[in-house]
């Protein structure tokens, strides 16, 4: 275990503890908005944990605690016509795209009024009117699919970019390779955020790959690549913004490695006993929300009262959201048999 720890450590370029975040042109107002999404992400997950403990969540529960800056920062750089395919740990992305917490809650609780009406679970839903494509569980599969979204956008004369995510573990799938190479050779505007949080379930990256940073994979496909501090929401935002620009200008795909850490287990049931305690302690110091808070205060972009007000407002909103979600019934059994085939156009 301590060997694993050691071998993992150096593979994972240290993320600065410092509060000095990446340079940005984002206004104070927009930075406060970013803060709101970060908090909404975390606070919704806290509510979900409660619901889980109350046995209201039907299946497993997955948390993005400690990684919120990756989802929020990257999604915030997209435009309204862009399309994103988030994974299970990208709650923040859903929120930035306009999804309401009750939608996620109803998904987890398998309720009739959730976006899939109880047919599928957690973040497994999409909605192209909000630029969202649903994942499937098989990791990697979304990468070629989102390459196809990007290709379609270009063929349709839209200037959209497509974005999706993959974990350090998910980079070992065949679809990661085929999808990225395909996107590269077609030069389509695909952004792949590689969320390197050090672990795939219990597996440290030292057992996942022999390389020290995933950004070298970009050169294997001849595409742009950047590695950023994934716990700095501004760094993630800025890297994605540049990638969006590149994509819109015909510069092809970008791979962004966001270095971060998974602060809970793989899922709610997993106590992550295999992760050395010191790592949690180390990364707690680098908490993306705490850091961003300190940044906002230090830069005079928000007062403590502003932040408290944002938090209080989210808290209130979440009360309503939880109530609404709980009020939704389970779907009627007949619905199980409906909707296998499309009979009318979805788009």
């Amino acid at each position: 275990m301590s060997k694993m720890n050691k071998s993992w450590g150096p593979l994972h370029p240290a993320v600065e503890k410092t509060d000095r975040l990446a340079k940005t042109d984002l206004s104070g107002e927009r930075q406060r908005e970013l803060y709101g999404y970060l908090k909404l992400n975390r606070m919704t997950e806290d509510r979900l944990s409660n619901l889980y403990r109350q046995n209201k969540v039907v299946g497993g529960l997955y948390s993005s605690r400690g990684q919120e800056a990756v989802s929020v920062g990257s999604a915030y750089a997209l435009g309204p016509d862009d399309v994103v395919g988030p994974l299970i740990r990208n709650l923040g992305t859903y929120f930035v795209r306009g999804v309401k917490p009750r939608e996620i809650m109803m998904q987890y609780m398998a309720r009739a009024d959730g976006p899939t009406g109880g047919k599928d679970v957690n973040t497994h839903f999409g909605d192209l009117s909000r630029g969202l494509v649903a994942p499937i569980s098989m990791l990697g599969s979304l990468i070629p699919v989102m390459a196809g979204v990007a290709l379609a956008g270009r063929m349709q004369g839209k200037s959209l970019v497509a974005m999706t995510y993959i974990g350090d573990g998910g980079t070992s799938t065949g679809d990661f390779h085929e999808g990225l190479n395909f996107a590269a050779v077609l030069d389509v505007p695909l952004i792949l955020i590689v969320e390197n949080n050090g672990y795939a379930y219990s597996t440290p990256i030292s057992k996942q790959m022999k390389i020290k940073s995933l950004v070298v994979r970009a050169s294997a496909y001849g595409i742009a690549g950047e590695s950023v501090d994934g716990n700095d929401v501004l760094a993630v935002y800025e890297a994605t913004r540049k990638a969006v620009e590149r994509g819109r200008n015909g510069g092809g795909p970008t791979l962004i490695e966001a270095r971060t850490f998974r602060m809970k287990g793989h899922a709610e049931h997993d106590d992550a006993g295999y992760v050395p305690k010191e790592l949690f302690e180390e990364w707690k110091e680098k908490d993306p929300i705490d850091r961003f808070e300190r940044h906002l205060l230090a830069e005079g972009l928000a007062t403590q009262e502003d932040l408290d007000a944002i938090t209080a407002q989210i808290d209130e909103e979440l009360n309503r959201e939880v109530d609404a979600a709980l009020a939704s019934p389970f779907p009627p059994p007949e619905r199980a048999f409906e909707g296998v085939y499309a009979v009318e156009e979805s788009v």
Partner: protein, 326 residues
């Protein structure tokens, strides 16, 4: 218009759909400059340009994945597998992504994956497969298996216009058979997906079949006339959704059924059809429902071996005689 072959009919369908609907485009290995390993896309690069005729890397999973993404965005991708056997490398994308998508979150995935399937051309195990047997289980997929030139054209057009993921399995043994040359109907000549065709009306025994085996059945029917046995031949044309009504109707009429298919027998389409008959037309049956398929072996290369492996007219005639006297 002059009669054309099965493969020409496919090319025509592709060409016409490309002309009439700019959402249609193609992805495949060597489909551009080369015009496709079987020339199904010959001339298309010149006519439609590289944006709509995309020469692909050897990445079947990404080809299908890309098509899924483009389909969700409202386009109509048609993916060519150079040989349909390579669809195995896209299994997950088709079975888990494309098929279940509409059920899961209401988003349609209108795409076609097409390519040459089937044996009899000494292609050995990786250039002769009939993947309908394994894909039939996949919720949300449609599977089409044309046996004639006009059906190939009409069904391919329907497949491209369908809102769902359609697997279009052409039989390469039929591609250039001169006997299959047919005049194409005026206009689109659309053939609906999900509708079987009564290829021969008969009295005594129903042969339910499709693809290359359709012609085996028809030839056998001719030969059996001399015996005074009058075969009815049902060409399924679509495997999924299956035209169960047509299957049951022919069996209820003749009381005897052979399901004749070119696939290893276990887990076959033939087994599935046969099970439906045994469940839903039991009262009409005068004899066992017989599956005439291939043995449960890989597809062998040598002519002597492949001939032993494949169903043929002799084998069918023998089975019919056996069953007729049951």
């Amino acid at each position: 218009m002059a009669p054309i072959t099965y493969i020409e009919a496919i090319r025509q369908a592709l060409w016409e759909e490309m002309e009439s609907d700019e959402r249609v485009f193609m992805i495949g290995q060597d489909i551009g400059t080369y015009g496709g390993a079987f020339r199904a896309t010959a001339g298309m690069l010149d006519r439609f340009g590289p944006k709509r005729i995309i020469d692909s890397p050897i990445s079947e999973s990404a080809m299908v994945g890309t098509a899924i993404g483009a389909a969700m965005m409202g386009l109509r991708p048609v993916v060519e597998m150079q040989f349909i056997d390579f669809i195995a490398c896209a299994w997950n994308q088709l079975f888990n992504f494309a098929g279940p998508n509409h059920y899961r979150w209401g988003q349609s995935v209108p795409l076609v994956v097409r390519g040459p399937s089937g044996g009899g051309v000494r292609g050995s195990n990786f250039h002769s497969q009939n993947p309908e047997s394994v894909f039939q289980h996949g919720p949300g997929l449609k599977i089409v298996v044309p046996g004639t030139a006009a059906d190939a054209r009409g069904l391919l057009k329907s497949a491209i216009r369908d809102l769902n993921p359609v697997l279009f399995f052409e039989h390469k043994f039929l591609y250039r058979r001169p006997q299959l040359k047919q005049e194409m109907p005026e206009g689109d000549g659309l053939v609906p997906i999900g509708k079987a065709n009564l290829a021969r009306v008969g009295r005594d025994l129903s042969v339910v079949t499709y693809g290359a085996m359709l012609h085996v059945a028809l030839e056998a029917a001719g030969r059996l006339e001399a015996d005074g046995i009058d075969l009815e031949v049902l060409d399924l044309r679509t495997i999924k959704p299956l035209d169960e009504e047509a299957v049951l109707a022919t069996v209820r009429k003749t009381g005897r059924a052979i399901v004749l298919t070119e696939e290893q027998i276990t887990g076959s389409v033939a087994g599935d059809v046969s099970a439906r008959i045994a469940e839903k037309a039991f009262a009409w049956l005068d004899s066992p429902v017989v599956r005439l398929c291939c043995p449960d072996t890989p597809i062998p290369y040598s002519p002597t071996l492949e001939d032993a492996y494949l169903p043929n007219v002799d084998k069918l005639v023998a089975k019919v005689r056996e069953l007729a006297s049951y």
